[in-house]
């Protein structure tokens, strides 16, 4: 688990470098990526959750933290969320599916491809959900004032 924490932090921060994120936000990119990945890892490998559910919850958390950072440091949210989302992208599964297709093993490849599609959808839904929650909170704050 310690290795996972360290590597996910480094991976998210280095992705900040690849995307040319501002220097003072690299550390925060790393933190967002680390928290998201640790939640995903804990849910999937320790609690036995399905990958799709784990991805959804992790991307939801990432979006919430990114919004919090965006508001606090007055920078666009996208800077934090992008680096955090990257580890959740189902690159491994997509690779597996592609490889089965190349080996003419279609019956194994199709379920894998469907899973890739489901996980991408889960990432998207997590982001959308947090946005909706954010807007509801904003609106209720506005009406209260």
């Amino acid at each position: 688990m310690i290795y996972q924490i360290v590597t996910s932090f480094i991976a998210a921060a280095t992705f900040g470098v690849i995307f040319n994120a501002p220097k003072n936000s690299l550390l925060k990119c790393g933190i967002v990526g680390m928290v998201g990945w640790v939640l995903y890892y804990w849910l999937v490998y320790y609690q036995g959750f399905d990958q799709v559910v784990g991805t959804f919850l992790a991307s939801f958390l990432i979006a919430i933290i990114s919004q919090f950072f965006a508001k606090k440091f007055k920078t666009p949210m996208i800077i934090f969320s992008v680096a955090g989302i990257i580890p959740l992208v189902p690159g491994g599964l997509a690779y597996d599916a592609m490889r089965r297709f190349v080996e003419n093993d279609y019956s194994v490849a199709l379920p894998l491809a469907a899973k890739v599609f489901m996980i991408s959808g889960a990432i998207a839904m997590g982001l959308v959900f947090s946005e909706v929650v954010n807007q509801i909170i904003k609106r209720s704050m506005a009406t209260r004032q």
């Binding site: 290795y3 996972q4 590597t7 996910s8 480094i10 991976a11 280095t14 992705f15 900040g16 470098v17 690849i18 995307f19 040319n20 994120a21 501002p22 220097k23 936000s25 990945w37 007055k74 920078t75 666009p76 996208i78 800077i79 969320s81 992008v82 989302i85 990257i86 580890p87 992208v89 690159g91 491994g92 997509a94 690779y95 597996d96 592609m98 490889r99 297709f101 190349v102 080996e103 991408s120 990432i123 998207a124 982001l127 959308v128 946005e131």
Partner: protein, 252 residues
């Protein structure tokens, strides 16, 4: 200073320049539109309309003033510029900048270089590849090989993109190089798990920003730009997959 013809022209110019920089640096469509309209509003043009697509921006102010269009041909990811434009537009909203100053500042960012030198980005991509190998249950034994394959792949990506200017082709070649390098490591008896090394080193090429942006735009109702960004992301993913698939085809 309101509403004389030359003033309106200057405002439209500043707005378009800001929008252009943001769109070229990979900002979301709704943020580009929002920023342009905010700038216009703070210079006294309350009713402005903008139409932003990944390939161009149309901007107009109500009345007799001309509508202007800029074409966007080159798109990359530069979150630093997005953040800087954002902070300048905040200053404009607060009324701290005249049109002339704002124009000058935007011009300055437009020509600014990337924050990190290219060798540092390649190093970052290489390190990220190694870390992803561990995150995807790989063994520490393969860490070094993933770092080399990932670094080599990203270098190829940057180099080929300079050479041919067609992004998909550069991605295809880069992932092909990654596949072949990883295979050579296994073949020579250094690496242990081919799959894990390839997956880890391909990650820096994955179109994560495009996917995230496409979804957020779709949600905000920008159907045209979200679908075209989605198509771009799909093409990128396909290019990477095809490159890997061909290199696997060679190796079996």
């Amino acid at each position: 200073m309101k509403n004389s013809h030359t003033d309106a022209n200057a405002v439209v110019d500043v707005c378009l320049l800001a929008g252009k920089i943001m769109l070229q640096s990979g900002a979301e469509t709704y943020r580009v539109e929002d920023t342009m309209m905010r700038i216009a509003a703070s210079y006294g043009m309350e009713h402005s309309h903008s139409f932003v697509m990944p390939t161009g921006i149309i901007f107009s102010i109500d009345g007799l003033d001309p509508t202007k269009l800029v074409r966007i041909t080159d798109r990359s990811t530069d979150l630093h510029k997005v953040a800087v434009v954002n902070s300048i537009s905040r200053k404009i909203s607060a009324g701290e900048l005249t049109i002339k100053d704002a124009h000058q500042q935007f011009k300055q960012i437009e020509t600014a270089h990337e924050v990190y030198p290219i060798w540092f980005q390649i190093l970052a991509a290489a390190l990220a590849s190694g870390c992803f190998l561990i995150m995807f249950q790989g063994q520490w034994h393969d860490f070094f090989y993933a770092v080399i394959a990932g670094g080599l792949g990203y270098t190829c990506m940057v180099y080929f993109h300079d050479l041919v200017k067609i992004k998909f082709f550069a991605e295809f070649l880069a992932s092909f190089v990654i596949g072949m390098t990883s295979f050579l490591f296994i073949w020579a008896g250094f690496g242990l798990e081919l799959d894990k090394i390839i997956i880890g080193s391909v990650m820096p090429l994955v179109p994560g920003l495009l996917i995230t942006n496409a979804v957020r735009d779709l949600m905000a109702g920008h159907l045209v730009s979200s679908l075209s960004k989605g198509a771009e992301a799909f093409l990128t993913a396909f290019a990477i997959g095809a490159g890997i698939a061909i290199s696997i085809g060679f190796s079996f």
